[in-house]
């Protein structure tokens, strides 16, 4: 059932949603205007055209997970890839330290939000899936260090002591993104939370180029290069190998249990918004160590 992506007003037809959004935008309501600016078009269109655009935007051609993948690519890997992803094609020490310092906060929040999925579901395969994910991220598995530990070691290999890394508070953009994900965790049902969080793992999914992404999350030659410490390669390789499976499996579960696809779509877009802001925070932190990094965001 069509839904307003800004305030979640429901109607039986997209035309009604378009009329509602058009009116809200005419009244300069920031939330509605911003949603259209960021997702649909910055140029005002009439209600009929808006209706068509909304219907096309939310139309699920194959399955929900395919729609999520398509939107993720458009937002982060499309015509104008996110500056952090561009920076990861040739990462400096500053880029990687920015990554380490901000991402520790992301990962801590990650497992907290996943625990909310476990709290809210009775589906055993989902509970097992999330527990395994938390384990890999926070405790490690089969004697291998956790993703969190590999991240800290990457920072240490770049010359920053562990205590110093752990002493940083998150930048405001990171905190804002974390607040968004925590709000989603508290207010949404478990399928929405799963979709909102695990779709973010698509960022390192190496199969994205098959679906139209212009580049990979990072330049893969790093993994065999002698220009980077082993710990940098260990961390990047872990995500490279894990996230494809993680995102793919989670989105299959989302497809299987989705009862309200439109609501899931809206929640996923909120999560993407937060993620885009958070990725910029990594660069912003990186600027503290590499002033030239500002050129990446210009």
């Amino acid at each position: 059932m069509p839904i307003c992506p800004s305030c979640e007003y429901r109607a039986s037809e997209w035309k009604n949603i378009a009329s509602h959004m058009y009116l809200m935008a005419r009244n300069s309501d920031p939330s509605h205007v911003m949603w259209m600016n960021r997702n649909l078009t910055m140029k005002e269109v009439d209600v009929d055209n808006l209706s068509i655009m909304l219907e096309n935007f939310f139309s699920i051609k194959d399955n929900l997970s395919f729609w999520i993948r398509e939107k993720f690519i458009q937002k982060f890997y499309g015509e104008s890839p996110h500056p952090f992803i561009l920076a990861m094609q040739n990462p400096t020490r500053g880029v990687l330290l920015g990554y380490v310092i901000e991402h520790q906060h992301f990962l801590k929040n990650w497992v907290k939000v996943l625990s909310e999925i476990i709290f809210k579901t009775d589906v055993e395969e989902v509970i097992k899936y999330e527990l395994e994910n938390i384990n890999v991220e926070y405790f490690g598995y089969n004697g291998r260090p956790s993703h969190y530990e590999l991240l800290i070691r990457m920072g240490e290999s770049l010359g920053m002591p562990r205590e110093k890394i752990l002493s940083y508070k998150p930048l405001p953009s990171t905190q804002s993104a974390i607040n968004t994900w925590r709000k989603i965790a508290f207010e949404s049902n478990w399928v929405e939370i799963m979709a909102a969080m695990h779709s973010l793992e698509l960022v390192a999914d190496k199969t994205l180029r098959k679906y139209g992404a212009k580049m990979h999350y990072f330049n893969e030659t790093i993994l065999s290069s002698n220009d980077f410490p082993k710990e940098v390669k260990d961390f990047l390789r872990e995500g490279y190998e894990a996230d494809q499976t993680h995102a793919g499996e989670a989105l299959k579960l989302v497809d299987k249990y989705a009862e309200d696809p439109e609501k899931i779509q809206v929640t996923v877009l909120r999560s993407f918004d937060a993620f885009a802001k958070y990725l910029t925070a990594r660069l912003e932190r990186g600027m503290e160590f590499d002033k030239n990094l500002i050129k990446v965001v210009l």
């Binding site: 309501d29 911003m34 600016n37 910055m42 140029k43 996110h82 802001k277 910029t280 965001v297």
Partner: protein, 106 residues
């Protein structure tokens, strides 16, 4: 004030919001004696905060030209001009339209 957003003229309903370039909305604010168009009050507040910060840092009384490149996600790379002088900076706004990051560019 002559305003350009991502390469296009901005600041009136026809051309778009003085900060983001969008033509949605119908919000106006008088800034430096000039009525400027914004898509919403958040963009207007961000713009005003930015103008005040430029004036505070440069000591300028007014800004003749302002060029803004970028967006909400990655922040904005700007060039302000007045009486033959030029000031370049990067700005990013927070959730409450406040300036979250402001960096002068050499």
């Amino acid at each position: 004030m002559k305003i350009q957003v991502n390469g296009s003229k901005a600041g009136d309903k026809e051309n778009g919001c003085a900060l983001c370039g969008a033509t949605w909305g119908d919000y106006y604010e008088e800034i430096d004696g000039e009525k400027l168009f914004f898509c919403c009050d958040v963009c207007a507040t961000e713009f005003k905060n930015m103008i005040e910060e430029i004036k505070r840092r440069t000591g300028w009384k007014k800004i003749d030209e302002l060029s803004i490149e970028g967006n909400y996600y990655k922040g904005r790379n700007c060039v302000a001009k007045t009486e033959g002088r030029e000031y370049k900076f990067y700005v990013k706004f927070g959730d409450d339209a406040e300036i979250e990051t402001f960096k002068e560019i050499e």
